[in-house]
Symmetry: C2
Subunit: 117 residues, 2 copies
């Protein structure tokens, strides 16, 4: 059986998710956490992935754009994006701290995170 793990996210080596967006991941077997720090106004372009994505905004504002509609989410607002749903994101003028959850874990993130190590 895999062992329990405890991490201080401040100690997790972040990887660059995109311009102005850094990600600190915690990989489980079935799911993963990804703590995102958006610089003010940082954007994530339209994309999709087969993984289900859930998340919650912890600080600042993150907008999620689905079907051309932007939903501006503040602290303690959450979301479920089924796998395959195209979406983009952008942060407000104060940036944002966001916790994303992916199920299953993003293999591409694991590769990128490991490669930068």
């Amino acid at each position: 059986m895999p062992a329990p793990r405890f991490v201080r996210f401040d100690d997790v080596r972040p990887f660059l998710l995109g311009e102005g967006v850094t990600a600190s991941p915690l990989f489980g077997e079935g799911a993963m956490l990804n703590l995102l720090e958006f610089e003010p106004g940082a954007t994530v372009p339209l994309h999709s992935h087969p993984h289900e994505q859930l998340g919650i905004v912890l600080r600042g504002m993150q907008a999620l754009v689905v079907d051309g509609i932007a939903r501006e989410l503040g602290p303690l607002e959450g979301y479920v994006l089924p796998g395959g749903v195209e979406h983009a994101a952008y942060a407000g003028p104060e940036g944002a701290l966001v916790l994303d959850v992916f199920c299953p874990p993003r293999e591409d993130y694991l590769e990128r995170w490991s490669a930068e190590g």
Copy 2:
């Protein structure tokens, strides 16, 4: 394909997880979020479940007890508990706000949450 969902956790009807611990869930298909508010000193007795559990402390202190060892976790400290690992939890004197993630979603929580609706 299921539709994206957006929620304000403050608007989610909470259910009572245990004495002094309320839970506001957001159910996905493969995983779920569960936002827990611990009153000061609230405890969750030793238990286990087959679901993988990940989480992060957002405010205050939550200790997780595994194999008789208590790990006191503060804001932005996270964890992965593989399914089947016995664990207990308690909050510090200021309580705690914690985001738990379960994979797959907890059917027992869905039943309890639906029953209280």
